[in-house]
Point group: C2
Chain length 259, copies 2
């Protein structure tokens, strides 16, 4: 059972996971980050050491958990592997990077992927976040799954391919939706209207599909093939050519699903 | 002060508004719908008469509130105006139809637009829903605003043009987002993954922007110009040509906002 963890990174994912492990009584041996200030700040919250030097990371950790951007995974794994416990597990937390990126440097490697959008200063209910595990071998898989179970009720063992599918779905549902909220906010502001006017609608849109199929929840001019309203909206959007293109694109896509 | 209301329609908006008025102690004189069954069902809940005949609507109502599809507004207004109280206000509840569509049939007309997505069997906190009022004259405007205030804390007087902007923003934020959730659900299902895995992410995406600017909340491969992940995702999506097009379109749009 993993009890001693070295966290690599000090960003949003590192912060949320470190604090959650710490609250569950696990030991964070060290926070290792290129930014010594961020490492120190997080370390103070979880009662751990901190360092910005790869050769100063602890040798006794059972897990080295990489909470770093995708393109830092290989360089960081390379920099730490000589200084770490060779029997330990190394895992990254990325939705898109393959588990095998870690194969060159460690015998036991895997992915510990929490599917959520993490921001500083926003509390999350960690027990509701689904964790997805991919690992080099059954023992590592079990160790990582057991660790995830200390945090969350929702654990699943998946393949690298399935994790990519989850990541694509997350990008579509989170990043692309957030972009829609952003352009709505701009459009409202340009017309002396406050974005807060549509915030209840946005919450309800997300709440509705928690227990209903989104396909059954679709409303609006596109799905009811209300071409008059669509043309009216497109005409208004002629001053916003990119938004007009977005509106047309999405309306056509919605109409295709119902034909 | 409006105390006596005749509701035209028996769908989701009619149901939510009728029940809310009734709870606030206002009198629903009658539910008028083409479907006598739906009219009766709703009337029983709000202690009112019901009819499917335009010439049977009450003459003493102070407000005839049209909760009908956009293309039914003019035909319904035409069918009821000879049988209604000529001093009464007529208002529709549509985001897209102009207030002036009612001008031909009534002296006092307006729009009573609640900006929310209404579904049967889903409770909504009506006091949190923003209501937007547009009216033919100041007196009507005041009457409709006072009525809205009995239900909600958030009332605003706006122009027809502004209501259209709100409606466009609502379509983008609600209908288009819901479409993104729908395609995510399909993609997951096709890869033996459950849609419920990304439901917490969807809720958090909506929750985040309640007190933050969506522009500052954007994450993911597009905004960080992670072309490697984008290409990886596009390659995976080659089996889903429409989704691939959506992914490319949205990623480019997000990247434009940051350049």
């Amino acid at each position: 059972m993993i009890r001693h963890i070295c966290i690599i990174g000090a960003g949003n994912v590192a912060t949320h996971l470190s604090l959650s492990f710490y609250k569950k009584g696990l030991t964070i041996d060290c926070i290792h980050s290129r930014s010594i200030d961020k490492a120190k700040k997080l370390a103070l919250q979880v009662d751990s050491d901190f360092t910005d030097q790869a050769d100063k990371i602890p040798k006794n950790s059972q897990l080295y958990l990489l909470c770093v951007p995708d393109d830092a995974i290989v360089p960081v794994a390379k920099s730490i592997h000589k200084h770490s416990n060779p029997k330990a597990i190394i895992a990254h937390t990325s939705g898109s990077a393959s588990s095998t990126t870690l194969q060159r440097f460690f015998s036991h490697f895997g992915v510990f992927y929490p599917l959520q959008t993490f921001s500083k200063n926003r509390e999350l209910i960690i027990s509701e976040i689904p964790f997805f595990i991919t690992a080099s071998d059954t023992k590592t898989e079990k160790e990582l799954a057991a660790l995830a179970k200390t945090l969350s009720k929702k654990i699943q063992i998946i393949s690298d391919k399935q994790r990519m599918v989850l990541h694509v779905a997350a990008v579509i549902s989170n990043n692309f939706s957030n972009y829609l909220f952003q352009v709505s906010a701009t459009l409202l502001k340009n017309n002396d209207l406050d974005f807060s006017n549509i915030k209840p609608l946005i919450l309800e849109t997300a709440a509705k599909i928690q227990d209903k199929d989104p396909k059954d929840m679709q409303t609006g001019p596109a799905i009811r093939k209300d071409q008059k309203t669509i043309e009216h909206h497109l005409d208004f959007l002629k001053d916003y050519p990119e938004l007009k293109e977005l509106y047309r694109f999405m309306s056509q896509a919605i109409q295709k699903t119902s034909s």
